[in-house]
């Protein structure tokens, strides 16, 4: 566990860069988190995905996989990879301040 300062606030992340406490996240942290993933600026389409990720996490206890994002977020899988080229589910989860989606068993 690592304590980070993001948007002048202390938050805890695990060693893969995922938030340990999603409630520590605020919207003004997202641009800085996105820049660390090489994404700048955050567009409306990015925000659609980030808000969907957080809603799913608080509703279901885990963030969605890429496939679920493609089916339910209103953004196609192809577009998701354009928005988050290094892997939509993981990268968007880091920027949205939620734990790593547990997609696969």
């Amino acid at each position: 566990m690592i304590t980070m300062s993001i948007a002048s606030t202390e938050v805890e992340q695990n060693d893969e860069g995922f938030f340990v406490h999603p409630e520590q996240w605020t919207e003004d942290m997202a641009p800085e988190l996105a820049r660390r993933e090489g994404i700048d600026p955050l567009t409306d389409a990015h925000w659609t995905v980030l808000r969907f990720m957080r809603a799913e996490y608080f509703d279901k206890g885990t963030g969605p996989t890429v496939r679920v994002l493609g089916k339910s977020s209103g953004v196609s899988v192809k577009e998701l990879y354009q928005l988050f080229p290094k892997g939509p589910a993981k990268v968007a989860a880091r920027i949205a301040g939620i734990p790593k989606p547990r997609g696969c068993i």
Partner: protein, 418 residues
Amino acid sequence: MTRRVVILGGGTGGTLVANRLRRKFDSHDLAITVVDQDDEHVYQPGLLFVPFGLAHSEDIVRPRHRQLHDDIEFVEAAIDRVEIDSNRVHLIGGAVLPYDVLVVATGATLLPEETEGLTGPGWMEKVFTFYSPEGAAALAPALSAFEGGSIVVNVVDMPIKCPVAPLEFCFLADWYFHERGIRDKVELTYVTPLDGAFTKPAASRALAGMLADKNIELVTEFNTGEVDGAGGRLVSYDEREIRFDLAVIVPLHGGAAYVGRSPGLGDDLGFVPTDDRTLQADAAANVFVIGDAANVPASKAGSVTHFEGETVVDNIVRHLAGEPLVGGFDGHANCFIETGFHKALLIDFNYDTEPLPGHYPTALGLPLLKESRLNHLGKLLFQSVYWHGLLPGRDIPGIGAAMPTAGKQPVAVREERA
């Protein structure tokens, strides 16, 4: 008063729950109906062997209704939808089955058409799957005619049934081309969306080592966006390409189609949200789920279904008696992994414990996480145990529902990477 259990699906889970319930209740107290869209029960672990000529499709299929005990009704019909609120199942064609308890046991469905190009040019000619009886049968002559070139084995995305099966396919292909004397002319590549060979760290390391030893290339974190059969290319969403002369694809999986037509029953992929300990559906107190249809965080595998059976039946009995449910299921999975050359590996794990080395079920049992001829024999013998022990709902000596720990050696494990 006679109460009615309707079981959707006459595969591994539906059959063993029906037979176990029939033993516990006589037919005056409980009417049991099993619904399936066809009367062909496939021993799915056998599909792996069909492409290599080691089994034939007809050897692994038996009539579903013949696996059910007397006084269990079998209805051959497709399901239109379930109405949770009125406790009724609507069949295609208009028939309606009311129930007191519903068991969802309709497994997972292959969705090859959801991947761009997969069912286009080249499908069943140079692009195959061994996950269906037709696909496995079509692959056999294609492999025997294969004289050299590149073969890719690709899992499109998780979850899939039997996550070890595509690895077993690679190991058997290595053995098969050795036997034919042309292994040096065949490039084998395993392409997975995961960040390692398998989902669990200790087993993933062991299996990655075996792939390397057998000269099978491992490509990880590849999310297949398109299968171009005509051009012989897999293309990932992040625009990487892998060329092939023959592709063996494990398509996307979803729940049965009727789940999506049943308000409140399923999730986005058609699997049924289910309590991972009691196996009661989130949708309603009188709905239980067994096997691949459930969204529980366990492997989609026959062994898991088998071990879930005890909890599902216990909890149906408790529900009918108005008693609280038991959280009996521990996520236990137990898988033989064929590694070729008449050997196999065995892994055994649950929700909390990853596959460990040692012996199963006790220190004198089969070796775990290690290749052996004994495990291969175990895998072959299991087919008989399946038809004669597991489906009839008998307790099988040495294969209990709860994961045994007696023969296991703890290992230092890095943080679990889900």
